[in-house]
């Protein structure tokens, strides 16, 4: 069965510093991987996805993520964090079969301090 793990419940970063939010996955075949962000009292917003091709994918708000097949990871990164990046971040993976499940990790709370 597919699964996603986000090993850190919380990540604290100073504004201007680089940030990384970690994600590892487990699927039986090739994964489709996604990152979402949730601001307080809001629904989830799509940030970026990996389907195939270049291992470094770029998304919204300056975020990017690196797919590493050998380590089964898909870490979210940003070169310079903003206070407004503070939010809850979710990694997700999708099965390959038609109508497959979209499975989420438990989420990582990112806090960026001035």
């Amino acid at each position: 069965a597919q699964s996603v793990a986000q090993p850190e419940d919380q990540v604290n970063v100073a504004e201007g510093n680089p940030l990384t939010v970690k994600c590892t996955y487990s699927v039986s075949g090739n994964p489709y991987l996604f990152w979402y962000v949730q601001y307080p009292n809001r629904g989830l917003q799509f940030l970026l996805k990996y389907i195939t091709g270049d291992n470094l994918v770029k998304g919204s708000y300056g975020f990017e993520a690196e797919f590493n097949k050998s380590q089964t990871s898909f870490h979210l990164k940003k070169p310079s964090a903003l206070v407004s990046d503070s939010a809850l971040y979710f990694c997700a993976v999708r099965e390959l079969n038609q109508g497959g499940k979209l499975i989420f990790g438990q989420g990582t709370e990112l806090s960026v301090k001035p």
Binding site: K101, G105, Q106
Partner: protein, 113 residues
């Protein structure tokens, strides 16, 4: 822009009541999903549907059922609400192929008393 609309932002229901949560999307998406979100547990899939009248169980379907009579509408039903179903419920939709991202509604905060 894709819009996924959940009928209520906040609901308070009594134990044993039958509860209906409604979700409508306006982009002709084939797939629709219901999740519940609890602190420390992330989003857990309750049910999903890949076509009208089709449904598949997610990871936590017990105590829930769903209905999809029209493509744009996906309803989550709590047959007999219990206090452990107090949670945030999120609906999402996506185009048919698995490479497409899902779009989420604002969520319904359900409290069962």
């Amino acid at each position: 822009d894709v819009k996924v609309t959940q009928s209520s932002r906040y609901l308070v229901k009594r134990t044993g009541e039958k509860v209906f949560l409604e979700c409508v999307q306006d982009m002709d998406h084939e797939n629709m999903f219901w999740y519940r979100q609890d602190p420390g547990l992330g989003l857990r899939l309750i049910y999903f549907s890949y076509d009208v009248k089709m449904k598949e169980k997610g990871d936590i379907p017990e105590g829930y059922s769903v209905s999809r009579e029209k493509k744009e509408r996906f309803s989550l039903i709590l047959e007999s609400a219990s206090t452990n179903q107090t949670s945030m419920y999120l609906c999402a939709s996506s185009l048919g192929t698995n490479i497409n991202e899902a779009f989420f509604g604002q969520g319904t905060r359900l409290t069962v008393v």
